[in-house]
């Protein structure tokens, strides 16, 4: 874990905390208190400076994230196209609610504001991939690919 953090810090020489925290998280290291403390110490900034970035942005999380991060849109355009049914399907498939992570840590589920895929509502992202025109059947198919 320490080596990954040090590597990330090495190629973010400008010390931009947003890029650093995102990259650590992309390596699937949870931003625990210890991890944030190490980042702070290495950069010579206070813990609160790291923590305030980690808690401001919705794509950076201080809670554990799944190997696959599901972000499903909760905004109006998707809501008009019955995103609630899709959310309910995912909840049932994975046995978790939004904000939770599966016991095997394979998935975490998050409701997010508009992801700009309203022409293919309801839409979601899994990691860095976008999925649109979702139906309960389609979403079950998609989840199967990640299991």
């Amino acid at each position: 874990m320490d080596t990954v953090i040090q590597e990330v810090l090495t190629h973010n020489k400008n010390g931009n905390l947003i890029s650093i925290l995102k990259e650590i998280q992309d390596n699937r290291i949870d931003l625990s208190k210890d991890v944030m403390l190490e980042v702070a110490k290495s950069l010579g900034v206070s813990f609160s400076e790291v923590y305030e970035i980690a808690t401001f942005y919705s794509f950076i999380s201080t809670e554990p994230l799944g190997k696959n991060i599901i972000r499903i849109c909760k905004s109006i355009p998707c809501y008009l196209k019955s995103s609630d049914v899709v959310v309910a399907t995912i909840e049932k498939e994975l046995g978790i609610k939004p904000g939770e992570i599966t016991p095997d840590k394979k998935f975490s589920l998050h409701l997010t504001n508009c992801i700009g895929a309203c022409d293919m509502a309801p839409a979601m992202m899994i990691n860095k991939k976008r999925y649109g025109n979702l139906t309960p059947e389609k979403v079950v198919e998609i989840l199967r690919e990640y299991r």
Binding site: N14, G15, N16, L17, I18, S19, L21, K22, E52, I53, F56, Y57, S58, F59, I60, S75, I76, P77, Y79, L80, T112, N113, C114, I115, G116, A117, C118, D119, M120, A121, M125, K128, K129, R130
Partner: protein, 398 residues
């Protein structure tokens, strides 16, 4: 009036991964022309075109470039705002997906005009799948020597999920690696922007206009449009429509053309223009022309049919702002919370008559005293529905 594709002229025509395909379709003609002119003359041309910012605020682009160009100091920046977070807006995503080269060319023209050696494209985290495409376009432009000719290096900065970072000063803070909190102004970015250096910050669509204007001339451009709204506008439309998508119209085209003819909406109750912070237009005003003088925003259009509950929609808008307020100024931090609470009372049929007045007072206070556009515009849809659909609110009073 059907679609007029000026900004979107390459979308669906070129191969967005190949610069040769772009060059075959008059790519970099605008930049080549600009480079043969002095930076001051380029700015004059943009000024003469009447181009105004497409991110919603409509500030004259030439004036912004002029102020930045004339600002003291050698270190200057151009920032492209691709943090398209406004609910129901996806035109910039469509542009980057289909024609990233025109954007790169636009950034290069702006950088040459103001003398910026470094430019950043701030790409929202929700569009992270576009990063490769955008970097590919930048690298190909570099390989062909276009960016060197313009004297600029372009880098993509990935956001991390925050609506407020679409606000220019919050975006700047974010590139600096901080929380996306709004700055007090003045000073404005043209004098003190990124790292306190003179900075131009323009929306994706605004910068897309620059290559077209330089290639065809300001006179050609300013013939299109009405009043002080020149050129075309790119709209994204969604919600209760048959054909959601991205359409480009000459400024001043009636809303009906977009909503009924192009997107084929039926049985319309109301239309919200400019995302969650936009104005609500009832169906009776469907012939409203789309321009800076009337309604526009960033061009995100949501259509609601007769089956929709106005208060439900407004409650969702208020929940959005309550979550996305950066928390720096209290009219917005507290106001968005209280607006949500009170609208929820109406939604649940638990409101008192006095709550109508409370909504109006609080909205006015926020619009007058919030530090940035988020808090100032958050009550827009509420105020509009209180005007046009007041009986729906009154029917929910206990």
């Amino acid at each position: 009036m059907p679609e007029t594709r000026v900004i979107l002229k390459n979308c669906g025509i070129i191969d967005p991964s190949s610069i040769d395909s772009y060059i075959e379709n008059d790519g970099f003609v605008g930049l080549d022309k600009a480079l043969k002119m002095s930076p001051t003359d380029v700015i004059e041309e943009i000024k003469k075109s009447g181009l105004r910012g497409r991110g919603g605020a409509g500030f004259p682009t030439g004036l912004k470039w002029d102020m930045t160009g004339k600002a003291q100091g050698d270190e200057k920046y151009v920032l492209c705002n691709a943090d398209e977070g406004e609910v129901g807006t996806f035109k910039d995503r469509y542009i980057i997906e289909n024609d990233p080269f025109s954007l790169v060319e636009g950034v290069a023209i702006a950088s040459y005009a103001v003398g910026a050696k470094k430019a950043f494209i701030y790409l929202r985290a929700e569009y992270n799948y576009l990063l490769e495409k955008l970097n590919n376009a930048i690298n190909q432009a570099k390989d062909k020597g276009y960016l060197q000719s313009a004297g600029v290096d372009i880098e993509v900065f990935e956001g991390a999920g925050a609506y407020i970072c679409g606000e220019e000063s919050a975006l700047i803070e974010s590139i600096e690696g901080k929380r996306g909190e709004v700055r007090y102004r003045p000073p404005f970015p043209p004098t003190e922007g990124l790292w306190r250096k003179p900075t131009v910050i323009d929306n994706v669509e605004t910068l897309m206009n620059a290559p077209r204007i330089m290639a065809n001339g300001a006179d050609w451009y300013s013939q299109m449009g009405v009043d002080r709204s020149k050129g075309t506008k790119v709209f994204s439309i969604c919600g209760d429509v048959e054909k959601p998508g991205v359409y480009e119209l000459i400024m001043g085209t009636p809303l009906r053309e977009l909503v009924e003819n192009l997107a084929q909406a039926k049985d319309i109750k109301m239309v919200q223009i400019g995302g969650a912070s936009g104005r609500v237009v009832p169906y009776e005003n469907i012939d409203t022309p789309l321009s800076f003088e009337t309604v526009l925003g960033a061009g995100g259009v949501m259509v609601f049919n007769q089956s929709r509950d106005a208060i439900e929609i407004i409650r969702m808008n208020m929940a959005f702002f309550e979550e996305e307020s950066c928390g720096k100024c209290f009219p917005c931090r507290e106001g968005t919370k209280r607006l949500l609470e009170i609208v929820t009372l109406f939604h649940e049929g638990k409101a008192y008559k006095r709550d109508l007045q409370a909504l109006e007072d609080l909205s006015e206070t926020m619009m007058l005293t919030s530090l940035c556009g988020l808090g100032q515009a958050a009550p827009n849809s509420l105020v509009d529905t209180l005007k046009y659909y007041r009986s729906e609110y009154e029917s929910r009073i206990m």
